[in-house]
Amino acid sequence: MERREGISKLLGRELYIDDVPMDRGLWGATVRSPSPRGRIREVRFSPDVNWDEFVVVDHRDIPGENHVWLIESDQPVLAADSVRHVHEPVVLLAHHSREMVHRAVRSVEVIVDPAPPVLDFRLPPGADGIQHGTDNVFSHIVIRKGDVDAALADAPVVIEGTYETGAQEHVYLENQGMVAWIDGDVVVVKGSLQCPYYVHAALTHGLGRAEDRVRVIQSPTGGGFGGKEEYPSVLALHVALLALKAGAPVKMIYDRPEDMAATTKRHPAWIRHRTGVDLDGRLLAQAVEVVFDGGAYVTLSPVVLSRGLIHAGGPYACDNVRIDGRAVLTNSVPFGAFRGFGAPQTIFAVERQMDKIAEELGMDPVELRRMNLIREGQSTATGQIIRDGADRLEVLDRALDLSAYREKQEEHARFNAAHEDLRRGVGLSTYFHGAGFTGGGEVHLSSVAKVEARPDGRIEVLTSNIEMGQGTLTIFTQIASESLGLEPDDVVIAEADTFRVPNSGPTVASRTVMVVGRLIEKACADLVAKLGDSDLRGPDLKQAIVDWYRKHSGGVLDGAARYEPPPGTSWDEDSYRGDAYGAFAWGACVVEVEVDLRTLGTRVLDVVAVQEVGKVLNELLARGQIQGGVVQAIGWALMEECVWSDGAMVNNQLTNYMIPTSDDVPPIRVDFLEAPYAHGTGGAKGIGELPVDGPAPAVAAAIEAATGTHPRVIPVTPERLMELYDGA
């Protein structure tokens, strides 16, 4: 099935939030902290502006609790007396002119008595830098399996390596934006977002309103990648506060520089491995230390850390593992959800470490991985036994075959000998990604999906999961129409409006198809069962629905399903032992690069990504997800670098924060292997994030093969490669 809303998007008819005209509304804007840390001494409004024309909101206008509801309540909606990062919101303005309101922002001065900021997450904070608990640690998690210290002491070889990855900006092409208005005694917020019920909860807390007096509606969302997971709660509170005070609709649309400077990014990471191996290369012990930069407030850092740590050992079997990780405070913009959610960072490190082990043992990195990849019946770092029928060796071999990995190595030896200024190399990574929420997350969410029959025989699907480009509308249509034997046109997907749709959880964690899709199947079955004949399908079903409505005037024929964990899974949150995810998807990636020794620029020549994803429900959409994810990861590996000053991103423009163009990447060759997952929709496991895990270490490995340098820090920009040459 082709993308359902595709034609509308191709013809520019999809109305994003900035595209909807607003009658008699105001434009909102944000006055932000100029300083990374300190007490707010004064907020000075320039006398040159007639402030009577403006609606002005500060922390005193917050009717509820002044914090953004999430894991902890440390992040204020608007700073009250102190600030913790540059660009922290302090005052909100609204005016009927978009231009005037943005100009007025410059006429408000936030004067801060500075305190010493904590800017390097890798260093322990000084006593005067403590701002959270006693040590600035937001979250500390340890995963333990076997006896690492004994195994390291006994291991014939112990290899150490330290790795770092940088922040990454999401660069969804549609910036953050929202509108709020008052409808009777209900505050309505509509905008670009991934998680309607997160926003809903944030609004009920921050505005101090009952759940039924807050309504959140998702508008078509021009990309998210995690960037519209938690941040929209902040923007929703701001726009709602302005609308409440103004008594009129208010719209806030960030421009690109504000969006890049003020919103979340991928967590920077520092990771150290100590690995014990035998002389054949078998893993005996993995000791991994992880530090993530959490930024100024807790936001989602503990869960990002959790996923990062669970993936930190890689897709390998090892009996003795200790993964010890912390997410810590710095005085920079909070880091947050970004496709992969901590796993790309830790997988970069473990994959680079595998290459280091291979080099030190004089082994082929392919054979090292082949030896250690998890076999059926072996377990991950948390002790989750893998028995999913997927063949991880086949994933590896398919990637080697398709990429002609061996042939390329020979060809490169000849090429490099024949060229003075060009060096080619090929690199490999193997990886995995747990689909759905971690551990008991899905159980806590207790998601519900609904379907409702319409009197004309069509079926409406009601969930809070949203379309942001990844294909939810299409896949949900496909799932409902196939399970009911109806035509796609007979299926309607309800707008994600909290007044209508149940809470089927957030649109994150590669869970939409695997988890919510399954609920839709069950809800469909529930609906059909109410007609007294569970085998009804297709035209017969349609007719039965029409007849039902004739008999039950005023009634509603619907079906619902609530999440239940797959039987036999168990997870212990305290010890971090057990089945971390319902299923893992598996991948192998081969990247070929050419480095120009004159410029030290790296060009990617070829990428092969092989993914085992349970079952591919829609080949075109799945392929597009993988290709897009791979290119994002190539950007992170080679060119996307946030430049910081006082914890603020200073290259907050697309002119100097570069993402890959069509001319920077080759065709991304994707292949799928399928080992159906019994508890996923039609056998599917999540696929959205897996593709982001593999390319960065493969790029670094390819540069290593080409140049003989050892990239351990990304992005591998020409400057960084120069340092590697100088240091070598």
Partner: protein, 159 residues
Amino acid sequence: MAHDAREDTVHVEFTLNGKVVSVEAQPADRLLDTIRYGLALPGTKEGCGEGECGSCTVLLDGLPANSCLVPTYQVRGRTVETVESLSEEDVAPLLRTGATQCGACTPGVVMTATWIRRHPEVLEAQGIRALMAGNLCRCTGYDGIVEGVEALVARETGG
């Protein structure tokens, strides 16, 4: 940015999607805003406002231009085409290759693609990847777009 005070406005007449339109514009008004807000054609998108992303691409006298960088007064007497001028048939091949995901870059992509379709001879000097490099897309990884443009051109040239 839409202007409030209408001082210093100039009268600008141009052809938009085949029809003559006239607007009052201030010197700093951007064509992007004139189209989106003044003339209520929101298909053309703003991604960066500084000529980097191509979301705001329109055809100006038949050539792709970033409408965020074009002052409205400069299009006086000229021809502007936006995504709203296209039909379903014009874009159908792009649907089949997966050229759109979130859709935010799409109108700009489609306009550059339309230019290439009309002038396949430009492909003699440069490949599709180079010609499309001014249109950033964060979703597709570009394969769906490149294959879509190939399909458009093939349909046009009977190839």
